[in-house]
């Protein structure tokens, strides 16, 4: 290493793709012909794979048969079949439940946008260092502590019936708006914590590098820390949004005609609970793709972090 810098070439020449490589060098790499040993190994692995598939199939069949037999032989099954699995009731309720579900999607989309803004702002405020911002910072801490502690349904009652009761000029009284406000308050606190975890997961050396380039605290956040933090928290954020999609049904307690409310109306009309099943299926249809997307993105982030990258 002492004299290594003399006549330093930039980068070692890659011998693999150098056509005029040194004849005294490694020479042509040998051609690969699968050895006996490798062929035996692969045969063994294939046999094992077939065995696993047969075992999985057999155990699945046993479990499914046991479940079906157990449920259909239960004494209440004919009754359940009638009240929860009635095709006529399903068809009758579906249009209304579906129409209601569109309102759920609307609530979800509007709430989601506000939640992202509130969450990010609260997380950023908690990161401010200057003493001037002490009251803001304390408020942000108080907000996350309080609103993560209140059950969402309770918050929906408090906001939904409390705000109109104040009889303030200009305060919203529409149940959908009030429901959205409650959801934003509740989920904003969770999402703020997710953002904060993301911001703190960015290595301090990244901040040091940015500050050493004379970027201010704000510029360091905006150009260096946040872009990395946001990428990392996309999977946990989507996870929160999967549960937000379901929790839009809680707004039903305030009375707007969303999916659960419509199902309730139909169910109480003819004492058949199949409309609830219809609503449940709609929620599943929306959350399952979202959950798969989350898994996919989480796996991608994990792969990227495992695949090197700088500190």
């Amino acid at each position: 290493m002492t004299d290594g810098h003399a006549a330093a070439p930039y980068g070692p020449p890659g011998w693999e793709d150098d056509p005029d490589r040194d004849p005294a060098g490694p020479g042509d790499p040998p051609e690969w012909v699968k050895s006996e040993r490798q062929l035996r190994r692969e045969a063994e692995l294939r046999a094992r794979g077939r065995r696993s598939v047969s075992i999985a199939t057999a155990s699945t069949i046993v479990v499914v048969v046991a479940l079906v037999v157990g449920i259909t032989k239960s004494p209440g099954w004919p009754r359940v079949q009638e009240t929860f699995l009635s095709p006529e009731a399903f068809v009758a309720a579906l249009p209304d439940v579906l129409r209601g579900f569109l309102l759920n999607i609307k609530i979800f989309l509007i709430a989601e946008a506000f939640i992202l803004v509130v969450g990010l702002l609260v997380a950023l405020v908690r990161g401010l260092r200057s003493p001037v911002f002490f009251p803001l910072r304390a408020l942000a801490v108080l907000y996350t502590d309080v609103f993560r502690g209140i059950p969402t349904i309770l918050l929906i009652y408090l906001v939904g019936f409390g705000i109109p009761a104040l009889q303030l000029q200009g305060a919203p009284s529409d149940p959908v708006t009030l429901g959205i406000i409650a959801l934003v308050l509740s989920y904003g606190a969770y999402v703020a914590e997710v953002f904060r975890a993301g911001i703190e997961s960015v290595h301090p050396s990244q901040r040091a590098a940015a500050r050493s380039l004379a970027l201010s605290h704000g510029q360091t956040m905006r150009y260096v820390v946040l872009p990395q933090a946001v990428r990392r928290v996309v999977p946990p954020l989507l996870n929160d949004f999967v549960s937000l999609q379901k929790d839009t049904a809680l707004v039903a307690v305030l009375g707007p005609l969303e999916a659960l409310r419509q199902a309730y109306i139909h169910a109480s009309y003819d004492f058949n609970y199949t409309p609830y099943l219809a609503a449940a299926l709609l929620f599943i249809a929306l959350t399952v793709p979202m959950a798969r997307l989350t898994d996919h993105l989480a796996a991608r982030v994990a792969r990227r972090q495992a695949g090197g990258g700088t500190a």
Binding site: D3, G4, H5, Y10, S205, S212, L215, Q228, G309
Partner: protein, 247 residues
């Protein structure tokens, strides 16, 4: 007049003194190498000069003004000082070009096209012409560190701090980073390097400082430090380095 004056600087961490009254002068265009074992305070001293750490006593002057004055604008000081880290610390979500042009554009108000042209010119000069649009994780360690050096000098700093910039590198990649530092010396860049590369320090330094336990025990021209060190602790350290190399 010296460009940088460090006088009686102390720094404590958790009740332990990592710097104990360091005095050091750096003249314009001078290259100063800090040598010493890990934990001797080399990196801490560099971080104090860049105000990434606050000192507990003493003063540091840059261009005749005290930068350790609490009223001094830290960002203004850092605009005049570049720093390169052991672990490169490139921004992984930005391309090489974006890494280099970030500070010129956002801090120094250089127009985008101008900053990019200058960045490409530097990349060209230091053998990285084809890498402008790559992301850091596609580069080798040596290439990443060379980009980090370019990023630090792209704003035209008065002083460049290099903190063990070859310690994280494969031995075969060390030379390419040392090559770029040598070229910077030829352009007259004032530099302070914390380094374990004794051969390189001997070759490039105008002044070598030996630190141990947070004390600057001895400093002088490399010829003297490496051939006839006055302090017995310097002799012992260089002896250990020699033995380690023979292994």
């Amino acid at each position: 007049m010296s460009l940088l004056t460090i006088e009686g600087v102390w720094k404590h961490y958790h009740g332990q003194s990592v710097l104990r009254g360091i005095d050091l002068e750096v003249a314009p265009h001078e290259v100063v190498c800090l040598i010493g074992a890990s934990g001797s305070g080399k990196s801490t001293l560099l971080r104090c000069v860049n105000l990434l750490e606050t000192i507990d006593d003493g003063a540091i002057h840059l261009d005749g003004t005290e930068i350790t004055d609490p009223r001094a604008d830290a960002d203004d000081v850092r605009r005049r000082i570049g720093m390169v880290f052991q672990a490169y610390n490139l921004f992984p979500h930005m391309t090489v070009l974006e890494n280099i042009t970030l500070a010129p554009r956002r801090v120094h108000g250089v127009r985008a096209e101008e900053a990019e042209a200058r960045a490409r010119e530097l990349l060209d000069r230091f053998g990285l012409a084809g890498k402008a649009d790559e992301y850091p994780d596609r580069l080798s360690g040596g290439q990443q560190q060379r980009v980090a050096v370019i990023r630090a000098v792209a704003t035209g700093p008065r002083l460049l701090l290099l903190d063990e910039v070859t310690s994280a590198l494969d031995p075969t990649l060390v030379t390419e980073v040392l090559g770029i530092i040598r070229e910077l010396k030829d352009t007259g860049m004032t530099m302070i390097l914390a380094t374990h590369e004794m051969g390189f320090a001997r070759d490039i330094a105008d002044k070598v400082c030996f630190l141990e336990g947070g004390v600057l025990l001895e400093s002088g021209p490399p010829g003297q430090i490496f051939t006839e060190p006055r302090h017995p602790r310097t002799r012992a350290f260089l002896q250990r380095v020699l033995e380690a190399r023979r292994m």
